[in-house]
Each structure stands twice: as C-alpha cells, then as structure tokens.
C-alpha cells in the first residue's frame, strides 16, 4: 500500500468495501457509516476499513483485510492518556 505523505490534517480511518447489511429503509442514504446504523453481528463479516496508524516508530496505513488468514483482536478504547 502506498505510503501517504504525513501532513498536518487530522487524518482518519474510513470504512472500505461493501457496507454492512443495512435496513432496507436506509438504502437511499449516503454516508451510512456516519449515521451509525451498524448491523454488526457475531458470525457475520467484520466491516473492512483502512486507517492511519502508528506502529513501532512508523506511521502507516492499516487495512483490516490485509490480515485475512490471521486471528485478529480489534480493541477500541476511549482515549490515549486516560486512566484505564
């Protein structure tokens, strides 16, 4: 994956590939991921994403689907420099 230049903007991750299953009524909506109608479920496909990351001294893009074939633990947490 091509390295993006490290700029001053606040880069962020985005969902890639097929959208997770949506309610039929939301078909016309764009930017579904921003209205949080996520339908994730155990036993179903994990939504793919690409996002900037810090990894052992380097900045890189991480894409979930690049890790197919391995077990992955994906951990969200509220914030750096918080207490727990």
């Amino acid at each position: 994956m091509a390295e993006k230049a490290i700029g001053c903007a606040r880069p962020t991750g985005s969902v890639v590939g097929e959208e997770p299953a949506q309610e039929a009524s939301s078909q016309g909506q764009k930017k579904e991921e921003e209205v949080a109608v996520s339908k994730i479920m155990v036993g179903r496909k994990a939504p793919d994403f690409a996002a900037p990351a810090y990894h052992q001294g380097e900045f890189k893009q991480v894409k979930l689907s690049d890790f197919l074939g391995k077990w992955i633990v994906l951990c969200f947490y509220p914030g750096d420099f918080t207490f727990v």
Binding site: R10, P11, V15, A36, I40, L64, K70, V73, C75, P78
Partner: protein, 133 residues
Amino acid sequence: MMSVSVDTQFVHKIWNETELSKMVEGGVPFPMIADAAGHLGAVYGVYDDEAGVDVRGRFIIDPDGIIQAMEVLTPPVGRKVEESIRQIKAFQHVRETEGAEVTPSGWEPGKKVLKPGPDLVGRVWEVWKPGDE
C-alpha cells in the same frame, strides 16, 4: 492485535513514547489506529457520538474475516486480556475440529469438550457439570 481510538497516530506515538513504553518493554508491539472522525467506531457500533469517543469494544475476528466474539464495556472498567486469549483458543479449537467439538463454559485448553449430536441431547449432565472446567 490492533487498537483503535479517536486520537491521531501522532498522539499514539507520543503516548507510546512517554507512558506505555514504560509499562511494556519495547513499547506497544501492534498498530495503534487513528479513528479521529469515529467512522470505524460507528460501523462497529461502539462510537459514542455524545462523548465523541469510541467506547471499550473488543472484537475477535477469525482468519475468514468473520466476527466470532464481541465485548463492549463503558469506559471506567478495563478488560481482562486472559479472557480474550481463552476465547481465541476456544474458537481455534472449534475451528480445528470444524465444529465437531464445542467448548463448555469456563473451558481451557486440555479440558473437556462436548461433541454435539442426537445422543447428547438432554444428557450433557452425564458428561459435564459446573466445576469440570
């Protein structure tokens, strides 16, 4: 293993350098992902748009990209790493046996597994009881 918060990768770098590397020798070994806009948290159902943060959600994803487990906590309580590892080992066992063997509650590697089938219906009590884990 990957971690995700709404902090930028730049903040992740400084947090790792100033604090985490003092807790873990060599610093954090896995990618620390930036979800500054909360897009990833939203699609995984863990973005709190009032607080503007991703809450404590943990997902175990198998080699086919299927979510096998998820756990979501409010911010003040931390997770237990050993429990995630136990679950991964259990899912790996089930996968290796192609579902022929399943793991009862509290299962650890080497402990008794169950073999689902017509003969086991109503007779689990004969082969397993709480405490056998």
